[in-house]
Amino acid sequence: METIFFLIITLVAIISAILVVTCKNPINSALSLIMTFFCLATYYVMLDAPFMAAVQVMVYAGAIMVLMVFTIMLLNIRVDASKKHSHKLIIGSIMGFFTLLDLGYVIVKSRAALPTGPFSGDMIKQLGHTELIGREIFTSFLLPFEITSILLLTAIVGAVILAKKKI
């Protein structure tokens, strides 16, 4: 049952990912990308990470994609089918194919380490995923968490400066 579900989600995710690349209209690409994000959220739920799924839907499918769609509609660019692809189409496709071969080779040839950590599925279900993530982020990862806030501040300042009339 879960395998069939996994296959369906995989099919939808890959088809919508291909649509992101091939659609002429950027709006259609954006909507396909949202579909892919939802599929990834489903994967996170299947991997016992419901908090990550919620964040994925809220931050990616919500905030970031709204920003993208807003920009597309603000700029209101004419769709020019003849100029859709660059002339590097064949080279790009070959490079992408080699990327896939490379990743596939790594996956086939390598062996993952044995599970070592203390977090099993039952434990996550019992304690709650959000609580475990919160504990980790505010104890072991406190310094990176604080640095993240500086990164966000920099991004805000950068966006405001770039949005000025005269750069």
Partner: protein, 100 residues
């Protein structure tokens, strides 16, 4: 839980599709979306490994990647709008001021 390898293969396929998009498309916003797709493929790998190894560090990393992606979206889209104001286009082939 499904086999770890199936998640890794899905992630590899998504990453490759994103690579092809970045290399072949001309529209800057679509290139941007393809980069987001690649970031998400990596996120899936992180979460799958985190679940497999029973260690939550990978999911914290996904958290940070999402933060970086949000910052990147804000600054990148501001750059695209600034470029559009100057050139009336968002084709990456029109970004040629520094071309010799």
């Amino acid at each position: 839980m499904e086999n770890l390898n199936s998640y890794l293969i899905v992630s590899a396929v998504l990453f490759s599709i994103g690579t092809i998009g970045v290399l072949t498309r001309k529209n800057a916003i679509v290139i941007f979306m393809c980069i987001e797709l690649m970031l998400n493929a990596v996120n899936l790998t992180f979460v799958a490994f985190s679940r497999y190894l029973g260690n939550l560090d990978g999911q914290i990393f996904v958290f940070f990647i999402m933060t970086v992606a949000a910052a990147e979206a804000a600054v990148g889209l501001a750059l695209i709008i600034a470029f559009f104001n100057n050139k009336d286009s968002i084709d990456v082939t029109d970004v040629n001021l520094m071309k010799w």
